[in-house]
Point group: C2
Chain length 395, copies 2
């Protein structure tokens, strides 16, 4: 059989992260790869209880087909939470539940992108967003980014000279992979500029709740007057990722289109998972739970940063993020992080090389460290080993 695959398949290769994750499934590996939450913080006992209650109270509906839009109490919660945290003014009609924010990227791609359309993104950006849009034949233009976020002068410039820009994908809070957070001003400007150019913004916000210092900032979505911003959220980092439940918020006209494509993609989200989460939110104080997560991750961030300062060569640079799960490391220009990874893997330490986070390639002297998943003694051990490799390699 000669398989005749669609043209788009030429754009897709296995996600490097998920391939590395297969290696890191071995228990002896100290992994700073992936973006895994700390499983010891999952509310296992609480989930057992809410699952029992949901099945007792309304098992027949919890296990049945349901609406594509999602479970209404959960849609209400998502809207209220965003209004409280991100300064938006959303209601149930603005929310579609999805199988993880990854699905929102896929659905948005399906609704907006024709082959050859252009997606703008931060440089670097989230790797699986790149693949999601590449599957619709998108081309990427990376917008220069500094410590305040995407540079608005560069964005205006690119918008002026580039045809067929359909989407701008951004992660303003504790960005993946850099850990950086956009300033308030940049958020406001992005909403203003994109409304003027009639370009859709996809604002990804998986880590926003995980702030370890400073004040919460309003979302780009909160400055959206034109209805051109979609903002995503997820339970993966504040509850657990195994449930694959997230949401996307936007203008009802766009949500309606997303519902249409979700219908023909997988009909609806897992009913039981949505009910479990809604019941948890009803019976427990998720703020208390998130405070616990924040405390543990803040401590891990501080610890990782301290060890890196002590153990990494001076020619290696990195910043301390204000939240989220990641630190971004820049090596001297000639060093290839993939080579460093190979040496590290020999000592059972893993991370993700930075090159894959640039849709148009290059920047092989960078890598990403996740500090949320490993217990503290393994963070220390792993980063010390990494420091050793780096010193051997660089000095």
């Amino acid at each position: 059989m000669h398989y005749s695959f669609a043209r788009r398949m030429a754009n897709l290769t296995a996600s490097e992260i998920r391939e590395i994750l297969k290696v890191t499934a071995r228990p002896e590996v100290i992994s700073f790869a992936g973006g895994l939450p700390a499983p010891e913080l999952f509310p296992i006992e609480e989930i057992k209880r809410v699952n029992r209650i949901v099945l007792d109270e309304d098992g027949k509906n919890a296990l049945q087909y349901s609406t594509t839009e999602g479970y209404d109490p959960l849609r209400d919660w998502a809207a209220a939470r965003m209004n409280q945290r991100l300064g938006t003014e959303l209601a149930r009609e603005n929310i579609l539940m999805v199988h993880g924010s990854q699905q929102a990227l896929d659905l948005a791609g399906k609704v907006f992108l024709d082959e050859g359309d252009v997606v703008l993104c931060e440089s670097p950006t989230y790797l699986a967003a790149i693949s999601a849009f590449k599957a619709y034949g998108a081309n990427f233009v990376e917008v220069p980014t500094d410590s305040m976020g995407m540079r608005m002068d560069a964005l205006e410039e690119i918008l002026k000279r580039t045809d067929r820009v359909k989407l701008i994908y951004v992660i303003p809070d504790f960005q993946n992979p850099t850990g950086r957070t956009w300033s308030l001003e940049r958020r406001r400007q992005l909403a203003e500029i994109t409304a003027r150019h009639e370009v859709m913004v996809l604002e990804d916000n998986p880590y926003g709740e995980l702030r370890y210092e400073g004040d919460f900032l309003p979302a780009v979505k909160s400055f959206d007057q034109a209805g051109n911003v979609l903002c995503m959220g997820t339970f993966s980092k504040i509850f657990c990722p195994g449930y694959r439940i997230g949401w996307v918020a936007g203008d009802p006209a766009v949500i309606g289109k997303l519902v249409l494509v979700k219908q023909c993609t997988d009909l609806q989200c897992n009913t039981m998972a949505q009910r479990d989460i809604a019941k948890y939110l009803e019976l427990y104080d998720i703020d208390e739970h998130i405070a616990k997560i924040r405390e543990v991750y803040r401590h891990r961030r501080d610890l990782a940063y301290r060890i890196m300062m002590e153990e990494f060569p001076k020619s290696v640079s990195f910043e301390k993020p204000h939240g989220g799960l990641f630190m971004w490391v820049v090596l001297p220009e000639k060093v290839n992080a993939r080579d460093v990874l190979e040496k590290c893997l020999q000592r059972n330490v893993a991370f993700v090389p930075g090159g894959s986070f640039f849709p148009n390639g290059g920047h092989e002297n960078t890598f990403r460290i996740n500090f949320s998943n490993m217990p503290e003694e393994r963070i220390v051990e792993g980063l010390k080993l990494m420091g050793q490799v780096l010193r051997e390699y660089i000095d």
Copy 2:
């Protein structure tokens, strides 16, 4: 804001079924629409127990991210079950877990279809498959179908004169919407012809386990020598649909591509749901459970058929299916089933007009009846009301 949607959005309209389902959510409505399983048969107590055990034994992994391919014990079960029931020879490597078989349709479309490619299907066929492929810009050619399944002479003819045929979508067991089952010979022929023409077959099998009379027949997949048949399965009809867990089986080369696109679509299936189902399969006898479902549905089919014979005008024709969830009704040519539906809805009875099941339109004098979801007294009441409307309308 002027939204500039992708071209494909012009092909997609709201699923009529899911819009009707919104109406039928009202408890007073007797619904023969949808393809809902009977919720009173969901193993609620068993699910409560397996959920508790999974969380006790391995909660941290059950709630964490996991592999895109799916939970290995569940992949093993799916392979073994198909081998036992459908005469295939599959192993774990042949199986990808998906969010309901609907997702397998979407992923297959993504892997194989470029805009303008052609999908062949039975006439009529499953409505949500039409939308799934339309989302990739596919054109449809309906292959004439008789009581033995797709007509192979017509298929050969169409394959000869049609360019860019990429997929053939079929439901050989208790087809949706007609309830018909393909003969053994047609299955064998389909595998042979498509291998010769190097065209992929998508064999959908959501109802195969629900046989009420006669012998189980081997799947088209069991005759696949070339590796050009993908066969889907689901827990929606034998366990519960709210979990959104199904699978697709195929040649590892194709499964690998499906894994790639699932990665960028939603990363992976719900870990917890996969674990729950696997634990259920380990601790309980699903054959016993399926036997119970079969018994109830067989009885409902017999009852519905009897009432329809008694109450429907003689000019209305329908067949008794050997399994599955649906009966197909053909009205006199001039009668439009949508008008009948309107009258029925006024009396709180619902079904799905048949026109939507024909990708290229027409056949408005047909409709589909689902007999699995309503308890018996409501089946009787609803079909009597429907008979009344039909008599008023036709005679």
